[in-house]
């Protein structure tokens, strides 16, 4: 708007000058613009300014606009695919048959290297196993008992209150047994890794038969696209029919991986079923109370909302 008015005023100014051209030579020589050159010049200035503005913007974007990646794609690792886990839905619980199968996979496969140190046998009761089964499993292991009369610590069979035994005495022993790599504790693993269930499932089933050509990995490392850096010390462990399920489910690699991941999700979030139920209660009670509060508000406000202010002007005395 401002520019347009400026243009218009300068045009009228130019016309006034043109009128003066005829009268004096000095005026004609000093007036730089003729009638048709003036808008061109002004347009030039505008165009140049716009070009500089766009150019500086482009230069700025060129300098600072592009995204920087500190790591290469290989170093980031392949992002895990999203799988439609049933137990992740808001109104679904863990499949306890799958948990039982998953615990079997953990016990027969994973537990030779990975500990599950936050899970006691008692917490399996009612989730994957009955009391008697859990007791029998606990009794298979030996634990330190209280010091006896001579102050020596004897071994005793496990009880329900004992935690699942660690495969190694300590982290150093675990490293020494695994070529320097420490197998992490799996109790909270689903919460501890970006991608959670999807990541662990992809990692377990994602080992290709042979790494893509050109990949050079140090000795003792295996290629897994989902592991950041793609070199993982753990080799592929799950193969078809490694485990024989008691319920007759065909033990394919992906079935075992799915079951064990669901079990690990339970071990990381054993309260999930209760949490969802509680959330549902909160929603139900909350909406009921909200609805009630709306009605109470209407009730309380009804005298104020329905009142009528009437102004009856006093009758002015007499006729005019």
């Amino acid at each position: 708007m401002l520019a347009r008015s400026a243009l218009r005023s300068s045009r009228t100014l130019g016309a006034a000058r043109n009128g003066a051209v005829h009268t004096s030579k000095r005026a004609a020589s000093s007036s730089s613009s003729s009638a048709d050159a003036s808008p061109f010049r002004l347009n030039m200035a505008g165009t140049a300014a716009t070009a500089v503005a766009i150019g500086s913007l482009a230069w700025y974007y060129h300098l600072y606009g592009t995204e920087l990646h500190a790591m290469t794609m290989t170093e980031e690792g392949l992002h895990a695919t999203k799988y439609p886990w049933v137990h992740k839905e808001y109104t679904k619980t863990f499949d306890h048959q799958a948990l039982r199968r998953g615990f079997q996979v953990y016990r027969e496969v994973c537990s030779s290297c990975h500990s599950l140190s936050r899970i006691p046998y008692r917490s399996l009761v009612g989730v994957t196993h009955t009391v008697d089964e859990a007791k029998a499993m606990a009794e298979e292991n030996e634990y330190d008992s209280e010091p006896n009369d001579e102050g020596e610590i004897e071994k005793r069979p496990g009880k329900l209150s004992d935690y699942l035994p660690n495969p190694y005495k300590n982290d150093e022993a675990a490293r020494a047994a695994n070529n320097g790599a420490l197998p992490p504790d799996l109790s909270l693993m689903v919460k501890a890794r970006h991608g959670g269930c999807d990541y662990i499932f992809s990692l377990l089933t994602g080992y290709p038969e042979e790494p893509p050509p050109g990949v050079k990995l140090p000795d003792g490392l295996n290629f897994n696209p989902y592991f950041p850096g793609t070199g993982i010390a753990m080799a592929r462990v799950l193969y078809n029919e490694l485990v024989e399920y008691e319920d007759g489910t065909p033990a394919t690699t992906s079935q075992m991986a799915k079951d064990v991941v669901e079990f690990l999700n339970w071990s990381a979030e054993p309260e999930m079923d209760q949490r969802k139920k509680m959330g549902m209660k909160v929603l139900v009670i909350g909406t009921a109370l909200f609805a009630l509060s709306v009605w109470v508000k209407r009730y309380k406000w009804s005298p104020i909302k329905t009142r009528k202010i009437a102004y009856n002007p006093p009758i002015q005395g007499g006729k005019h």
Binding site: T81, K82, P84, T205, P212, P225, T249, P250, Q255
Partner: protein, 134 residues
């Protein structure tokens, strides 16, 4: 079984959720003794049939994830990724077949191409796989 037990049983059957019990169900000895003869007879028949089925399963058992991902790799959606990966494999392994090595990128690997192909295949296979698994 009392009157209220039967009502609670019916309610339990009708409700969409069920109760989980920590205790193993108590074995009813009398019934077991009676039915033991029958179950043995039935069991022997079943045992004859079972091994044949298992053998068949063992031969056929195939990881559904691998199967679906192979199918997906060949599908039209993953064709560009597969094309790039195959081209990369050919380029990188060309030295093994006596062709001149690519001097610009002597250390090239096919990880990125592999990532794209694997991502495409696993995304495509994910819903099918979950339908196939228990």
């Amino acid at each position: 079984m009392g009157f209220f037990d039967s009502i609670s049983d019916m309610l339990e059957a009708a409700l969409p959720w069920s109760t989980a019990e920590a205790e193993a169900p108590k074995e009813e000895e009398t019934k077991d003794e009676e039915s033991s003869d029958k179950s043995e007879e039935e069991g022997s028949e079943e045992k004859e049939e079972e091994p044949e089925e298992e053998e068949e399963e063992e031969e056929e058992l195939e990881d559904p994830k691998e199967k679906f991902e192979e199918e997906c790799k060949e599908s039209k959606a993953c064709a560009p990724a597969k094309h790039h990966f195959d081209e990369c494999v050919e380029r990188v392994t060309s030295a093994d077949h006596g062709k001149p090595v690519d001097k610009k990128h002597p250390d090239e690997d096919c990880v990125e191409e592999f990532f794209h192909l694997a991502h495409c295949a696993s995304t495509c296979a994910a819903p099918k796989l979950w339908n196939a698994l228990k």
